[in-house]
């Protein structure tokens, strides 16, 4: 891969990955505010999810795979790259599983019906966004320190 293209792909990967983590951090703040009684914040969650978090997550994963395959690091050669792939994929799957609850909470907020019945969903928003943020920060930590360790695979 030409160095200029490699740099561009790396740039897109860094921006989408950091954007993913940043947007999840913003989501967590909104989820905590909602749990604290500010029910109207749930109206914003589907917008943040579908217009920022999901696109950033998908782009981060896809561009990350392209970036790794286009460099000597490889996708599965080094443990830190392989673990990053697993962490990002897990975060994306959990995010997509949560989109139904996000939509349901927004609908309840629009109807002014946030209350005891929605409490479990509200708790799930805080729990999953906090967990997701930890996972994404761990991925960023691996990218920065690149701990040693070869898997023995050639891809």
């Amino acid at each position: 891969m030409p160095p200029a293209l490699r740099k561009l792909i790396l740039f897109v990967h860094v921006v989408t990955s950091v954007g993913f983590a940043g947007a999840v951090a913003a989501f967590l703040v909104l989820a905590v505010a909602g749990l604290d009684g500010m029910g109207s914040v749930y109206l914003a969650l589907p917008l943040v999810t579908w217009w920022v978090i999901v696109p950033a997550a998908v782009a981060s994963l896809v561009v990350g795979v392209v970036a790794s395959l286009g460099t000597p690091w490889g996708l599965l050669k080094h443990y830190w790259v392989a673990i990053k792939l697993i962490l990002t994929a897990v975060a994306l799957v959990v995010l997509l599983l949560q989109t139904r609850t996000i939509g349901a909470l927004a609908a309840l907020a629009a109807a002014g019906a946030i209350g005891p019945a929605s409490r479990e969903g509200q708790n799930a928003m805080v729990l999953h966004s906090a967990g997701g943020l930890v996972v994404l920060l761990l991925a960023a930590l691996l990218s920065t320190y690149k701990p040693r360790g070869l898997t023995g695979l050639r891809v």
């Binding site: 939509g103 349901a104 799930a124």
Partner: protein, 53 residues
């Protein structure tokens, strides 16, 4: 003479992350088995419907 570190094998930090992910997976499985579903108590009539439906 001190023993040299083995060059092969799964590094400790990989095992740690693997164990963490396994614990999260087990926790999720237990929560699902116990019937925890955030959507279960919500008013499904209030859920957004696809456009045109």
């Amino acid at each position: 003479m001190a023993n040299a570190k083995p060059a092969t094998g799964v590094p400790g930090w990989v095992k740690l992350i693997g164990a963490g992910l396994l614990v999260l997976l087990l926790l999720a499985a237990v929560m699902i088995a116990l019937g925890h579903n955030p959507l279960a108590h919500m008013n499904h009539a209030a859920m957004p419907m696809p456009a045109g439906s």
